[in-house]
């Protein structure tokens, strides 16, 4: 039987589930790894839930833990990748996936995955429309540094997407 805290936490995670999936798409390549990372992030969020005081936005708090887990805490399994079977409990988030858009988003994920881990976090936060000030605080760089790196990242992505990721 789930406690009230567990229920509240699960509701919050449900509302921000896409964010966790995006982190998984950037730091894990196979369906198996993505599933492992998703579970690990949810677990770490739950273990740190007592530190969330509501002063910051839940999503900001989530970014920090999800990225910290993906970058430092999680270790890829050595198991062989497998093709994930879609079951009744698994369905796509948001609106139905359009084939053209799917190719575009997959190419974007692939291009971002070619970046170093730190740059992946930076571009993800930028794509989520997070202000540079907040990105700098989340990552641990100066705002100026974030700006300079973002310019370089955009160039790299442009190149990767033009030449096919």
């Amino acid at each position: 039987m789930a406690t009230e805290t567990e229920k509240t936490f699960v509701e919050l995670i449900n509302a921000h589930q896409r964010l966790v999936h995006k982190v998984c798409n950037l730091y894990a390549e196979t369906a198996d790894e993505r599933k492992d990372l998703f579970q690990e992030i949810v677990l770490q969020l739950w273990r740190s839930y007592h530190t969330f005081r509501g002063e910051a936005k839940f999503s900001t708090w989530m970014y920090r833990i999800a990225l910290n887990t993906a970058i430092g805490g999680w270790r890829k399994s050595s198991r062989q990748p497998y093709f994930e079977k879609m079951n009744d409990g698994h369905y796509n988030l948001g609106s139905p996936v359009e084939p053209d858009k799917e190719e575009q988003i997959q190419n974007l994920y692939k291009a971002i995955r070619q970046l170093p881990e730190v740059d992946r976090a930076l571009i993800m936060l930028a794509l989520e429309d997070i202000p540079y000030e907040e990105i700098a605080a989340t990552v641990g760089l100066t705002q100026n540094n974030v700006r300079v790196r973002m310019l370089r990242i955009r160039e790299k992505l442009k190149k990767a997407l033009t030449h096919g990721a």
Partner: protein, 210 residues
């Protein structure tokens, strides 16, 4: 391609984003963590359990053995085992005092590397010193049991010398073995984390991972 165009693509859901139901999320909360610190914590818990069993066996032997040189040797081993508890405490404390929510990415990584390196250092030192103590205790036990003259006489024979060599190898071997295992289990991961940490200050160029 401009950032706004990328943002437009980014907004669209991908086929790889699959909803976890509330039931699955609740199950995930009870799941087993695969983080490096959780793995270490579990291995320490196994060590503590094994150590506890060895401690209990030792105590039962002390009760049964008549007081004498060997009995005192066992008492020495018991005192040594008690000091090992401090070693376990240090190790377990390292892995239980880490919070993913308190630091930014850079500081978090630095703290994690520091903890993992300290853990490895304590592990290696503990292992080296532990084996040295066991080595000396083994030799002392032989002296106490058979007397200095008989032991010296025995180790000058081919069979005795071979036994000493094998005994020494049995003590030194695990030191190298454990070092290699630790490097394989954690050393490579720490190395990867260090490269990432260095990347915060000195960004690397686009890595060709394709």
């Amino acid at each position: 391609m401009e950032l706004d165009e990328l943002k437009e693509i980014w907004k669209h859901p991908s086929a790889t984003e699959t909803v976890w139901s509330a039931t699955e999320l609740l199950e995930a909360l009870q799941g087993k963590s695969k983080s490096i610190l959780s793995r270490i914590k579990r291995s320490i818990q196994i060590e503590i359990t094994t150590g506890g069993i060895a401690f209990a066996i030792l105590v039962s032997q002390i009760i049964m053995v008549e007081p004498g040189p060997i009995w005192w040797l066992m008492i020495g081993l018991l005192v040594f085992s008690a000091s090992v508890a401090i070693y376990f405490y240090l190790k377990i404390r390292l892995v239980t005092t880490f919070d993913f929510s308190t630091n930014n990415l850079k500081n978090n990584l630095a703290v994690l590397i520091n903890k993992l390196e300290l853990f490895l250092k304590i592990y290696k030192r503990g292992n080296q010193w532990g084996l040295v103590v066991f080595y000396l205790l083994g030799l002392t036990a032989a002296y106490l049991e058979h007397g200095t003259d008989r032991v010296l006489e025995y180790i000058t024979t081919a069979q005795g010398a071979l036994l000493v060599v094998l005994y020494t190898a049995a003590i030194i071997g695990p030191v190298f073995f454990v070092d290699r295992v630790l490097h394989k289990l954690y050393g490579e991961h720490i190395h990867r984390l260090k490269i990432m940490l260095a990347d915060f200050d000195n960004p690397t160029d686009l890595q060709n991972k394709a």
